[in-house]
Symmetry: C2
Subunit: 387 residues, 2 copies
């Protein structure tokens, strides 16, 4: 397989877009990415679109065709990929494989979700479809409840505290104040998080990622041709994906995600790098406990020490590793199908030195980590700065 690079990225602001439809968001992010790549739309040969639950959210399936149609790109092949909240990540991986294979030279990968057109209750039911509908959701286990179980066990086994988890939210909100694309551009304090209402104990409102509308697009190109278009291509050094049981009850451990560990091991092996080589990581913090587990499972911190590391500021901008400079799912927002591609957009901006007030120093390698459901899918990509 040949090397693949990202030559252009673009995204909408994440937030509650009452004035913008699913199609309009696709068009905005796509046009920005195409312009950023310095290509014409007609140079695109295929599209992969990540979207989790458009059938439930807007009554529309067939999202691949919708994207090609909206962007005026018919008749090129356009395929939707879905893996719940990792839909963007798996779409990006299919785009990567399609160029690595030689099938195409230039493809677009989009992630999109319009979540605010239905009630919060209906949205919670749609999101519950990311876990095990028969064994979890049907019995009342919504997503905050599932992650609350993991948080409780992590607290019991490792002494992780609610304040330590809150530190993830505080750090991500702080990063988001510098991100014009973020849903919540306001700082919060540990007290704010601790005083917010319980959603599912021990998780409080400010431990949870929000419901969000948004779209993000990346343009991929064979590395050997990338310089024809872009002066700052970002090379994809690794792409890996792993699966685990849909239901939490079938797992051996509740304190980490086996799919993340396996995907991370494979990715570091492919890239011939170790966690110490990564300066910036966009990790899947659908809840603060998810970030604690992610930074452990990805190998940045020893199992059980993620809470303390977060509270000690080791994941802040330019600390040991800059985690979720975008603000993460928590503060940048979490349009479920778009998040995996948004992580790539942020990684590229960091590697290109374009992350403005949240720019990390000397970024040579960045990692993205996208999780589906409660960990039944994990996708990890590693990127390298163009020389």
């Amino acid at each position: 397989m040949r090397s693949v690079s990202v030559i252009g990225v673009g995204m909408t602001k994440f937030g509650e877009h009452w004035d913008s439809s699913f199609r309009e968001m696709v068009g905005e992010a796509g046009a920005k990415a195409v312009k950023d790549a310095g290509i014409e739309g007609r140079e695109l040969q295929a599209i992969y679109g990540g979207c989790m639950a458009s059938g439930r959210f807007i009554g529309q399936e067939h999202i691949g065709a919708l994207i090609a149609d909206q962007m005026g790109l018919n008749p090129i092949p356009s395929t939707r990929c879905e893996a719940a909240c990792a839909s963007g990540g798996v779409a990006f991986r299919q785009g990567f494989l399609s160029v690595a294979s030689g099938a195409y030279d230039v493809v677009a990968v989009g992630g999109v979700e319009k979540m605010t057109d239905i009630s919060t209750e209906d949205a919670a039911l749609a999101l519950g479809g990311a876990g095990d509908q028969e064994w979890e959701l049907f019995n009342g286990a919504t997503f905050p409840a599932i992650y609350a179980l993991m948080a409780r066990r992590h607290m019991l086994d490792y002494g992780t505290t609610e304040e330590q988890m809150a530190a993830c939210a505080v750090k991500n909100h702080a990063n988001a104040t510098h991100n014009p694309y973020a849903q919540y551009r306001r700082a919060v304090t540990i007290e704010d998080v601790m005083n917010s209402g319980y959603i599912a104990e021990p998780l409080k409102l400010l431990d949870c990622s929000p419901i969000t509308d948004g779209a993000a697009v990346a343009i991929l190109c064979a590395t050997e041709k990338a310089r024809q278009f872009s002066s700052k291509p970002v090379e994809i050094l690794a792409s890996s994906q792993a699966s685990d049981s849909l239901a939490l009850a079938d797992r051996k451990s509740l304190t980490g995600l086996s799919a993340t560990r396996i995907a991370a091991e494979q990715a570091f092996k492919q890239a011939k790098l170790s966690p110490a080589d990564i300066q910036v990581a966009e990790v899947h913090d659908c809840f603060t406990i998810a970030e604690v587990m992610a930074i452990e499972d990805l190998g940045f911190f020893k199992k059980g020490t993620g809470g303390k590391a977060s509270a000690d500021g080791e994941t802040a901008l330019n600390a040991r590793v800059s985690v979720n400079t975008s603000g993460g799912l928590k503060a940048c927002g979490h349009p479920v199908g778009a998040t995996g591609v948004k992580q790539v957009v942020e990684a590229c901006w960091q590697l290109r030195g374009e992350a403005e007030g949240r720019q990390a120093a000397n970024v040579e390698h960045a990692l993205t980590h996208n999780v589906g459901g409660s960990g039944a899918t994990a996708v990890v990509h590693i990127f390298k700065r163009g020389d």
Copy 2:
């Protein structure tokens, strides 16, 4: 890219499976395909699953992870692909690309849909999400209405008659009487079709494919390694996919599908074959008019002559080209996400000489044609008999 072959296939009976869940159907088809391939499950390296609207039909997304979980195949990557009724076809194509690229040697492709757990009205709304929700479904255009518009125009432009369309249903029901996996194993006559009630004029009940539960699985392997497992591998000579506008109103013509024509041209070019080289074709007959258009757009018959050719018996078993030996969507049934993979299963059985009472003679090449929505996606594959 390297050559890829199908080394094993399996499927459930198609029908109304009140006694079998989504998971059970996945397990049954998967186990049959793995056994047919002569491999152990642990030799599979990745899964692609086609499924259109599980969120609407059973409240469950994240189908890739569900399949891996149900088949005991964690932690290999498992990805759902969706393109409405072409979901199985695009999943098969992603599996093909993943092996052609060298990323994997052996992968499973599944297609599955459980449609009968909700009301017929809700199912019609879910299926409407395959077209343009905003411009068609919201205004009342369900799928029979959309295809009825195409039928009317075909009748006006080419003199196609209701009796000619009915001939497709009669032929497909005749084939299905010999298919133990088919939903409707009973013959119907032209009179039966003509006397069935109008759903959307000129389309009557027996012009329409039914609502169906079912699953189908194919195991793909690099051709260079296929003989390690199977004594009768089926080589994939071509894989192509094209897109068109989601809404019918944006098309230049209503009497054919541009996406089918483009995908077919590309596929024949890849395979270095012409329509005359194909003995068996599984085409997307969601409605009888769809089969009439398909056999024209694929190049088997001149535009405008598909109705007459059907009435003249030119698509019957061992006539000019044996079309929909399985019974097609009309009589074998149409579990939307499974259909594209079922077409591959039938093509392989025909090429291996295992199609029993519906076996065509001297099958050297077979073609599958899977359509999403009213033609916004079309996928064409061409297969060759193993020597």
